[in-house]
Amino acid sequence: MKRRELLGVALATVGLIVGCGKEEASAPSGSPAPSGTGEAPAAPAATGGALTQADLDAVAKSEKPRKLALIVKTRNNPFFDPMIKAAEAEAKALGVELEVQSPAQETDKERQFALVQDVTARGVEAILVTPADSKGIVPALKQAQEKGILVINLDNRVDPDVAKSAGLELAAYVGADNLEGGRLAGQSMAEALSSGGKVAVLEGIRGTDNAEARKRGFTEAVAGKLDIVASDTAEWDTQRAYAKFQSMLAAHPEIQGLFCANDKMAVGALKAIDEAGKGGKITVVGYDNIPDVQPHLKNGKLAATIEQHPDLMGKYGVRAAVGILNGSVERGKEFLVPLEAIRGTK
């Protein structure tokens, strides 16, 4: 009985391995699949210039029924909910079908990879994706591209170097400009502390694109107006921000302002400020405008936060996809959604 079991496995799996081998063998030798109809081959990964809002607003309703897929990092993060809802509404308005897929956990990169493969197999015409792993997702997206599917990158960028070496050409990028967002945050801070002052920064995970850009933008905007006396990472995390800012405050009791590179960290820092009895005395600027900070904006403990408009990323991602499929929008370009500084009321 044991021997038969093993034999069964061996037989069943040999077939699948053979399948693998063939796929692998045919992929490189075959010429890159035509992804579209006779257009110029070049177009580097979504840096071929900018799309304007007018370009995208002009996109007409699709004449053919089309299927698109949106794959987000997870639904367990309030950031993605407006993105999904806006994308669904826009797909309806443009007369195309949109299916949404998401891993249960933001960290489940393997599942997101599999989801890209699955919607590819299902046969959609465009995949809109916010990569959980900007490098690791590339092979799956490349598979999709080889089947003639448009790959549109939203929010977190696909790593351009890895994409280039794999031969992945993004059809479009739609996201926010984190450098500009950092500047907006810096301006809000400088306005609130108009007579100058000492400020601190809680950064995101160091080395990541968005964390570095936000910090750089903020630093540029406050240069010559405010002194940055402390800057450290709390890795996007509420708990760590709470602990980090407690020690920052102990070391620099003179701090008058704090920029947190996301709102989750702002929530932690605000708690530390309250506990130190300094509630309302330190100007805090956050980033993302998540539901959790709405009460803090209302009671004025949070001076401002930056709205990145994930809803617009969803909306214009769908418009870009349909526009490219219709032939009215050029490939390989990017669109940066407008950012907005939301002020607290006080």
Partner: protein, 374 residues
């Protein structure tokens, strides 16, 4: 383990038995035209095996632990730790915790050898053996640290992979020894390891995932090589389980530990071996996962233990031990992969997929139990 005198046909049925549930799942999905069109293609099927590979590897190792009637909740965390060990070794040179990981098996081995030698002379070994073990740990840590310092920069990829396997082995060994010698329930021991290994992962990296790995590592994580590794693990584990004395003894311990002990089986040794195999499985899974994404992710494998347990249980291995097989676990992992993929392929909403998968896992086990009892 009955091989009674029933007709030859019953043997074939038995061999096919673990395949019944995935077959039902496949047939059910195939009634849907979208699934039938996309799934049974030469393009898609290799994807499925690649998607299932890490879970297959984890489940193979875990099967041995569950066969003893134990459980290993730590495989996901140990996988992350092994991945980070690999990543750090290649990019920055061996992390300090590696010295500890290397020292620990050395100490255990020294202790065991001392105990062996003492019992042969008719002495009571525990104290001396522990002393010998501790001394060996101390020596090995010192030597390890010196070695690590001597190596300086990153080590070769092959060395880094060996280091990752060593970390998996050490975690498994620690689990096994605490379960057997420490007499702590496996659930608690491995829950502790789940937390500790994840903690060590974050400690060693400050929570930053390790990137910049050599491109040639990537070969192990994709295409036929990935599938080949997974199947080699299955084959090796299946042979070990069904064709060697150690495999049979592990199963016998799960059937009735006391009876096994009384009939002279070295329960401590074989139980510990089961946890070591599980740790090694986690390490192999870590290597292919790190290769696949070219990234040693500190968040890798969160919740992976639950998928692996589900695969083992769907595969017909009893959670109370003694009954089951590695081949069944392969089938279980494939079933989960087919379910995951099938729901997307037929267009079930992402928000509902979890509900369906949960229900099918329970139903699958129910079906298996009814057939088992009949």
């Amino acid at each position: 383990m009955k091989t009674g005198g029933s007709a030859a046909g019953s043997g074939v049925l038995r061999a096919l038995r673990p395949w019944l549930i995935p077959a039902l799942v496949c047939v059910g999905f195939s009634l849907h035209p979208d699934f039938a069109r996309t799934f049974w293609t030469r393009e898609y099927l290799p994807n499925l095996l690649q998607q299932a590979a890490t879970n297959i590897i984890l489940a193979c190792g875990l099967t041995f632990v569950i066969l003893t009637g134990g459980i290993d909740l730590s495989v996901g965390s140990v996988m992350a730790l092994c991945g980070v060990a690999l990543g750090l070794c290649v990019t920055q040179g061996p992390p300090p915790f590696l010295a500890l990981a290397m020292a620990f098996p050395a100490g255990a081995l020294a202790g065991w050898a001392a105990a062996r030698a003492l019992t042969a002379r008719g002495l009571r070994p525990p104290l001396v053996a522990t002393g010998a073990g501790l001394a060996a740990v101390g020596a090995a840590v010192a030597v390890g640290q010196l070695l690590l310092r001597g190596m300086g920069g990153g080590v070769r990829l092959e060395g880094a992979i060996l280091a990752a396997l060593g970390v998996g082995l050490a975690c498994g060994l620690l689990n096994g020894l605490v379960v057997t010698l420490g007499r702590v329930p496996p659930f608690i021991v491995t829950l502790g390891m789940l937390t500790a290994a994840r903690g060590l992962t974050v400690y060693a990296t400050d929570g930053n995932s390790v990137s910049g790995l050599p491109p040639r590592l990537g070969v192990l994580g994709q295409g036929p090589v990935l599938v080949g590794i997974a199947l080699a693990v299955v084959l090796g584990a299946a042979l070990l389980q069904s064709r060697t004395g150690a495999g049979r003894l592990i199963q016998a311990i799960g059937g009735n530990e006391e009876a096994a002990r009384l009939s002279g089986v070295n329960v401590t040794l074989h139980k510990t071996l089961a946890y070591v195999l599980s740790g090694l499985g986690a390490a192999v899974a870590a290597v292919v996962l790190t290769a696949k994404f070219q990234l040693a992710d500190t968040g890798a494998g969160l919740g992976a233990e639950l998928n692996a347990i589900a695969a083992v249980v769907i595969g017909g291995t009893s959670l109370s031990g003694g009954r089951g097989s590695v081949v069944g676990s392969l089938v279980g992992a494939l079933t989960i992969a087919v379910l995951n993929a099938g729901l997307v392929l037929v267009g079930v909403r992402d928000t509902l997929q979890g509900v369906v998968i949960g229900a099918v896992i329970v139903l699958a086990v129910m079906v298996d139990r009814f057939r088992g009892g009949a």
